[in-house]
Symmetry: C2
Subunit: 426 residues, 2 copies
């Protein structure tokens, strides 16, 4: 039986990187397992994820049993009722738990909801000094603020040096920030489906997503709590994100050009008479269904805040290069990337691997051949689990780990075999 703690701690006054402060930063977290002094693993969640990373106190379930709509709603996410233990889906339950890749019988695993989010930590939807939700008066947050808040939380939990920091997607950026900011605090770093910075295509799509929210009249400058919420804008933002998490090939396999069934709820969005001549497609129905679920569980202002933090992150900021930013890191690093991921590409991970190599940090870049797009890090635990487990145990020499570097004399000569033929095939 793994011990589980679910709690929210008050960290007192906290100054954000922007210079603004809050009197009492609250951080909601979950921890699993027993801390033995050297076995702490911090897991960093993705954009709209939560602290609810594992369902250790209910029996294991299979992702395949869950149905497509549900399984996908779990992607990169936590769930609505993260604070209601055992009620809902944990976002990395196939990877974290007793006997799993991140083994809670062996490690003390901590996951904290980042500041700016909406699952119990301080953010736009939490109460400000006047007892009303902060709204957009909440200070802007950065990935660096997430890391600093996590450091404070771990201090409060009595954890000094971490055995590992593990993060996926923007959670991987969060992990990279740990290596840069607290290079002596982390022995092993696992960066899954992430990058040193977002590329301009993703910056553009995130910007369009934010505009979808802020042009929804119900957004009302961010002041919508207790009123009509900007559901249309948030739904559109979510649908855009969703397309970014999938790949051309996964969408072709999952939906093709099929029409949705007759009982599909086409009326989720306004339409006009001419639309009814054309099919309502599976892919539309899927996006509509998932967006509908999403607006029930996520806060529109948090979506603005967290995408801005992601867009803003740049590993080399304040340094001459990525390698320079990582130079003080004394641990080892595992990078995982997925061939059909166009949100965070294999090439970006390889560039990051080269930065680690130039700084003489032991690193392995393990490329997974996959059709699943960015989602792969959540829906392919069979490919993610083994390298992560072996790395936590044995470092870059772990048995299940492959590396794109053929030889390391000098650390510069590498061979990289991008398997992109499936990236955009149909």
């Amino acid at each position: 039986m793994t011990t589980v703690d679910r709690d929210t701690v008050s960290l007192g006054e906290f100054e954000f990187e922007c210079g603004e402060s809050v009197d009492d930063l609250r951080i909601a977290y979950e921890s699993y397992g027993e801390f033995t002094g050297d076995n702490a693993v911090l897991v960093c969640h993705a954009l709209t994820g939560s602290q609810h990373v594992a369902d250790v106190d209910r029996s294991a379930w299979s992702r395949d049993d869950a149905g497509v709509g549900e399984a996908d709603e779990a992607e990169a996410e936590g769930d609505t009722t993260a604070q209601t233990a055992g009620q809902a889906r944990a976002w990395w339950n196939d990877v974290v738990g007793p006997g799993k890749a991140i083994d809670t019988s062996e490690y003390y695993v901590v996951c904290a909801n980042v500041p700016g989010s909406c699952y119990g930590s301080s953010g736009p939807s939490s109460d400000g000094p006047d007892g009303e939700p902060w709204g957009t008066d909440f200070p802007p947050v950065t990935v660096g603020d997430w890391t600093r808040a996590q450091r404070r939380l771990l201090d409060a939990l009595g954890v000094g040096r971490l055995h590992a920091v593990v993060g996926g997607s923007v959670g991987g950026m969060n992990a990279l920030d740990w290596a840069r900011r607290y290079p002596d605090d982390v022995t092993r770093l696992v960066v899954v489906a992430a990058a040193a910075r977002l590329d301009p295509q993703c910056l553009a799509l995130d910007a369009v997503a934010r505009r979808a929210i802020t042009t929804d009249p119900d957004w009302n400058g961010g002041d919508y709590y207790g009123k009509s919420e900007p559901e249309n804008g948030l739904a559109l933002a979510r649908q855009l994100g969703h397309v970014m998490y999938l790949s051309k090939s996964s969408m072709a396999q999952k939906f093709g050009r099929r029409s949705a069934g007759r009982d599909a709820h086409r009326e989720a969005f306004p339409s006009d008479p001419a639309a009814s001549f054309f099919p309502y497609r599976d892919v539309e129905s899927y996006l509509d269904y998932n967006a509908d679920n999403f607006v029930d569980r996520f806060d529109a202002n948090s979506y603005l805040y967290l995408t801005r933090a992601m867009d803003d992150f740049d590993l080399r900021e304040g340094y001459d290069s990525d390698a320079d930013a990582l130079a003080a890191f004394a641990g080892e690093a595992l990078l995982l990337s997925f061939t059909a991921d166009w949100h965070f590409t294999v090439e970006q991970s390889e560039s990051l691997a080269e930065a680690f190599r130039s700084s003489d940090v032991p690193v392995a870049h393990h490329v997974v051949d996959s059709d699943h797009g960015h989602d792969a890090f959540l829906v392919e635990p069979e490919n993610v689990g083994p390298p992560v487990a072996d790395f936590l145990e044995d470092g870059v020499e772990g048995r299940a780990i492959t590396d794109t570097a053929v030889e390391s004399d000098g650390g510069t000569e590498t061979e990289f075999a991008p398997v992109h033929s499936s990236l955009f095939s149909t």
Copy 2:
């Protein structure tokens, strides 16, 4: 001096594929050059393009002189004042004109604004029977309706068999429909950056774009003429489209992660105080600027109508296969595709080439190595012009034409070398 005609013709009653009719379908067109009986070339415009394909009556200009913002606004488009001769940019002026690839000294070139659009042909923004704009009472339109209307227009102009039909993007689908629907009317078919059907990823993004329009309260069920127009929704739709027309590498080259200059108009969309801590990026400024121009020149209902026509097009509809749909076509075909185009991929063009080959239609699939994404067909006239010119002159044996097929015995063995390493590199 090339003769230019700009006119709008009344084609009388027209029954759309949906079964609904209008009493008088009006089609706005431009034609360039003299018809000699066998030299007619129909050019089919892209989604938001117009009949204004060439500026033959003003001196040539260089695209490079035009500045990034303007050059891009011309992409896949016509221009606002298509009906005001010589006032504004023609969308394929580098390819069509006297002495150019589609030589108006040699060919009689016709381009018609498709029904459902907003540049003078009948559509949602044109006047209905009651003298008021149709709005969403205008019948739904399909690519087949475009083709049938073009056939009627050409009849009115005295043109029977066409020397060639040339189309890019959804205009290429329009061209394919010509080969399927009127297989004896076309000698040479040029399909540029198109496909037999859209893939589910693009269907999804188009659906999100339509939702951006229909959730804008100013859309008002399509009844907004003379009132406040759904500018925010149309701007978002356009920004999404814009991202689809570019590639990761072209965006990296063009914008990187740079901040926009201080005089960039950040206030194009609503924002919140926290946003000001973060840079307003070049890529955002570019999208905002172009969206702003776009809403001035395009009709939101037309955007709904035309994207649905594009999404709906499927070459094999009513046939057993793409090859079957093309079996009656007795001419030759040239397919052009661009390596970094993720809207209409090289793979989709190759699949189309195989369909032509199985039907024993002489075909060449000419792949252009390019970083420009879908836009390449507009911004790389130096790569598009030569194969098109030679094909119009000499068919698939034209000198500047390459083909993906290595040998044609049996027409099945082909070698395809996708050059996708640049597709998603950063």
